[in-house]
Symmetry: C2
Subunit: 153 residues, 2 copies
Amino acid sequence: MNAPDDIAAINALRASFATAWNAGDVKALAALRMPDAVAMPNHQPTASGLPAIEAADTAFFAQMTAKMELMSDEVRTTGSWGFDRGRYKMTITPKAGGAPMTDEGRYIVVLEKGADGRWRLSRDIDNSTTPMPMPPPPPPDAAKGAAAKKGIK
Amino acid sequence: MNAPDDIAAINALRASFATAWNAGDVKALAALRMPDAVAMPNHQPTASGLPAIEAADTAFFAQMTAKMELMSDEVRTTGSWGFDRGRYKMTITPKAGGAPMTDEGRYIVVLEKGADGRWRLSRDIDNSTTPMPMPPPPPPDAAKGAAAKKGIK
């Protein structure tokens, strides 16, 4: 449990992931994941399996340059499973132009040690600590309906 | 690994969590978590340890009635650690009045079996599959600045 070699390998894996991400290198990212990996990025659909994840990453990096920093808060392992929990800071810039968008949040990555002894990402999920933006105001008809429900005339 | 008794206990834990959540029962929720639990709800701050989680839950349920459904996609255990990964549907209704808000998304919960043989939530994170609402338009001055950067006059 929490063998130093496993922890070190997972720390190196996280660094490789950030490097590949910041390079927009979809193939390098895929090589760091288990074949049956499941990626669950916030406000995006679930991608199950490497082909689906590669397709989603390819679509994302076609539109965006992303700069991400990962800061782990804990890594725990037991046998061939483990998890990494931490925080991210990210800046996304549309390649077509426009203002960069920044976000901060957290992640949990479930890790698996393959038969080859290598640790890879198995499941990942992230979310934001930035307050949710308010949705745009409803169209005039809907607003009238809501006002009517509250008894506002 | 994946012992049937452990899987059954975790399925029961999930059901108890949903029941306590839907009742807004902060004490019952706390009893299902490890003392050093960490909760990371989307677009909210991290709550570390039971007192912080109870305070956040108390503040939330003072304002909201919440109805949540949890649908697990997989449960894996190894020794005294495991994880549950799945989906949620949630409806939140402000107690002060106003339209209910609905959301759908996913979760990963890291679980731990205590010295007493009981499984409890150790780490939890969720995120949404609903597209991110666009942030409100920037104030006029900021918009002018962005237009200037793009060379728009």
